[in-house]
Amino acid sequence: MAKTMKKVDAVIVGFGWTGAIMAKELTEAGLNVVALERGPMRDTYPDGSYPQTIDELTYNIRKKLFMDVSRETVTVRNTTADGALPMRQLAAFLPGTGVGGAGLHWSGVHFRVDPVELRLRSHYEERYGKKFIPEGMTIQDFGVSYEELEPHFDFAEKVFGTSGTAWSIKGKVVGEGKGGNPFAADRSDDFPLEAQKNSVSGTLFGKAAEAVGYHPYNMPSANTSGPYTNPYGCQMGPCNFCGFCSGYACYMYSKASPNVNVLPALRQEPKFELRANAHVLKVNLASDGKRATGVTYVDAQGQEVVQPAELVILGAFQFNNVRLLLLSGIGKPYDPVSGKGTVGKNFAYQNLATIKAFFGKDQHHTNPFIGAGGNGVAIDDFNGDNFDHGPAGFVGGSPMWVNQAGTKPISGLAVPPGTPAWGSAWKAAAADYYTHHLSMDMHGAHQSYRDNYLDLDPNYKDAFGMPLLRMTFDWKENDIKMSRFMVDKMRKIAEAMNPKAIGVYAKDFGSHFDLSSYQTTHLNGGAIMGTDPSTSAINRYLQSWDVPNVFVLGASAFPQGLGYNPTGLVAALAYWSAKAIREQYLKHPGALVQA
C-alpha cells in the first residue's frame, strides 16, 4: 500500500536547473514546495572536492555523476521500420541524476538565443518562401519573443554569475573591439562579470577567424572571471581554468550550478523541502483526467509514496519529461503517420562537427589541459540567419568556436589523421601533439522532422517495470547539407592557423545517428510549446494544454534545436513560466491561454 504524504501547494519533479529555479520562485511566492529528485544528494562537498575530483577515470570515463542506465535508459531506432534497441551504455549524451541534475556537471556555455530561432518557421517563410522549408521538416515558432524573454535572460545571467562581453546595451554599442558579438541581440544590462581570459587556442581561433573575414567574440560562460555574489546571496569564487569542468562538480565554486547558485538560498526557506532518492513514476490525475492530484514516487527504501499537490511541475530533463507525460496519460501521444497528437512530437538534437588542428612543437603550445567548460572564442557569422541561406539551400545556422574546456588524456587525446591507434607510432604522435593541438566545433542547430519523435517502447522496461522511452531518430539531408557547408567554412579558419595537420570529424550523406560517440546532451522537443493545442503540448507559459495544473519545463519545450547551447533559454523560459504562475495562475488557477 502506497504511503500518502501531506498535501503541498506544489510538487516539483527533478531538481536540476529548472526544478531549482521554479522551487525558488514558488517559495518566494509563498507556496509550500516539495522537490523530488530521483538521484542522490550531491553538492560541491563531497562530490567536487579537491583533489579527489581531479580524476578523469572516475568521472569522464566511468561517468560517476551521470544517469544510471542500468536502471533506466532509452531505446533508439533510426526509422519506424527498425526495431529499437536500448542504449546500454552512456555515450552519445550524458544526462544528469542527483541533486543539481546535469546542472551540477554541465560545462557552463551560457548563451541567450538568436531571436530569429524563436520564430523560425515564420522567419524562413517570410524571407525565403514556404517552399524553402523541405517536405517533412516540422519546425515551428516558439510562441514567445526575445523581447518578452529579455528580462528573464538578464536575471538568469545574474543568478548564474555569467562572464561575457556585451555588444549593445539598450541600443548603445559597448562591445566593439572588446570581444563583443556584433550579431548578438540587444540587452537591457551588461553581463554580471566581464569575460574570462582566453585560452591560447581561443586566441588563435579568433585571430584566424578575423583574418578570414569573420567577427570573433568572447563566449559567455557561467564560469566566473572573478568573485561574485548573486541576487540570492549565493557566493562564487573565480575560476582557475582547472580543466576538470564538463562532467565534474566544480571544486572552486566557480561554475554555476543549482547546488551553488540556488540551493544555499532554498535551504534557508522553511517552506521548501528537497527529497533525494525519490523517483517519480507518474503524475496522478483526477478521474476526469483534467486535473493532476499529485505524483507517485518510489523512495530510497523502495516504498511507493503518493505526494498530493495543487500544482505539478515537471523539471526532469527533456526526455524524462516526455516519458512522464506519456506514462501519466497527459496529452495526446504523437502519431508520425497522421501527424496528429503532440506528446513526443518534434524530437531534435544538435548538429555538431569538429575540426582539430595539429601544430609543430615550436609553433604553438596550446596546453589543452587548461580550460573551463564555458570558455572560448566564437563566431556567429554563420549562426541563425546571419547569412543568405538562399544559395546554401538548407535551414539552420551554426556558431563555430574553440571551446577549450580541458582536454584530458584518456577521453580527449587526439592524434593527426592516419596515425595508427596503437604501438610506437601512436605513442610518438600522442607525445608530439598533445600540447600542440586545438579543437574547434561547429555546434549546429538541428531541425525537427515529422518522423523524428518519441514514444514508449513496447519491449524494454526500467528497474520499476515501466516502459522505456523510445527515440525514433536519424539525420536528414538538410542536416548533412548544413554540416558540409559549415565544415567547409571552419576548415578555412583552421587553415589560416597554418597547422601541420588537420583532422575533420563530420557526418556525411548516409551517416546515421551514432549512439556510440558523444555529441552533446542538448536534446530538444517532445513536449513543445506553441500557440495552438493541435500542434503543441504546452502553451507559451509552458502549461499543459490538457491538464492546466501541470507545467513542463526544459528543452522538451523547444520545437527544434538551437544553434547555441540550450540552458540559457531553458532558464529564461523557467523564469518566464514562473512569472506567469506567480502573477496570473495563482490568482486564477486554470488555463492561462484559452485553447
Partner: protein
C-alpha cells in the same frame, strides 16, 4: 539571507584563487618548476603485483599484449612499465567489470550496427575471459605457441588481426575484445596512479599532462611550454 556554509572547505575558496597542490606534493616542491626528468630506457619497471582476477596464463597474455599496444621505446616507458596489467586486474573487481553500470536486460541483438552502441550481453570480465582464451587459441593455431612467447613483430601482426576482426574467435568478436583491451590499456596508462596504473606518472610525463595540478590561472594565456611536472591525487610528483 546568507548562503549556507555547510561545507568546511567553502569559505576558503571564495574571493581568491588558491594555488592548490595536494599536500604531500608541497614537501618536495622545487620553486624553480624545473622540467621533469626525461624518462627513457631503463625506466623503473612497474611494482610487483599478484593478479586476483587473471589466471597465470591470462596474465602472461595481458602483460605481453599491453606491452605491444603501448611499447617501451625511445620515447619512454610503455604500458607494462606503467603498471597497466595491475590497473586492469584491479578494475576487474569494480562494478564496471561486471557490467552492473550498463543496461543489461534482453532481448539482445549482437548483430546490430555499430552506431547502436554496445549490444552484447557480455560484461568486461567475460570479454577478457573468453577473449584471452580465443586469442591464445588463435595464436597457437597460427604459430603453434602462446602469444607471450612470440616475437614482437608476430605479436603485432596478431593484434592487428584481432583489431580488424580477421581472427576467428568463438566466444566474443575479436574486434570487441581488442577494443576493450586497447581502451583499458590507455586508461591504465593515463589514469591517476590511485587506480594502480600510470605508475611514476610515466603516461602523463610522456605527453606533458600535469595531472592533478588543476590550477592554471597564470598559464591560460601563455603560448609556452608548461614547465611543471605532473602531480597525482595522492600528492606524488613525477
Amino acid at each position: 539571507m546568507s548562503p549556507d556554509d555547510t561545507s568546511p572547505a567553502r569559505r576558503d575558496f571564495l574571493r581568491k584563487s588558491l594555488t592548490l597542490i595536494p599536500a604531500a606534493a608541497l614537501a618536495g616542491q622545487a620553486a624553480s618548476g624545473a622540467a621533469a626528468a626525461a624518462p627513457g630506457h631503463g625506466a623503473a619497471a612497474a611494482r610487483d603485483y599478484q593478479p586476483t582476477f587473471f589466471t597465470p596464463e591470462e596474465w602472461a597474455f595481458l602483460r605481453a599484449g599491453v606491452a605491444r599496444l603501448i611499447p617501451a621505446d625511445e620515447r619512454g616507458p610503455g604500458a607494462l612499465e606503467a603498471g597497466v596489467p595491475e590497473y586492469i586486474d584491479r578494475q576487474m573487481a569494480t562494478p564496471y567489470a561486471s557490467g552492473s553500470q550498463w543496461y543489461m536486460h534482453g532481448p539482445f541483438n549482437p548483430d546490430a550496427p555499430k552506431t547502436m552502441g554496445y549490444q552484447l550481453r557480455l560484461a568486461p570480465r567475460e570479454i577478457y575471459r573468453l577473449g584471452i582464451r580465443d586469442a591464445e587459441a588463435w595464436s597457437r593455431k597460427q604459430h603453434g605457441k602462446p602469444f607471450a612467447t612470440l616475437d614482437a613483430a608476430t605479436q603485432d601482426a596478431l593484434l592487428a588481426q584481432f583489431e580488424q576482426g580477421e581472427a576467428q574467435f568463438e566466444g566474443v568478436p575479436s574486434k570487441v575484445f581488442f577494443a576493450l583491451l586497447l581502451g583499458n590499456t590507455r586508461e591504465g596508462f593515463f589514469c591517476d596512479p590511485v587506480h594502480g596504473g600510470n605508475q611514476g606518472m610515466v603516461g602523463w610525463t610522456l605527453i606533458g599532462f600535469p595531472g592533478a595540478r588543476a590550477d592554471f590561472m597564470d598559464w591560460v594565456e601563455r603560448d609556452e611550454r608548461y614547465p611543471f611536472p605532473p602531480v597525482s591525487i595522492r600528492g606524488e610528483r613525477a
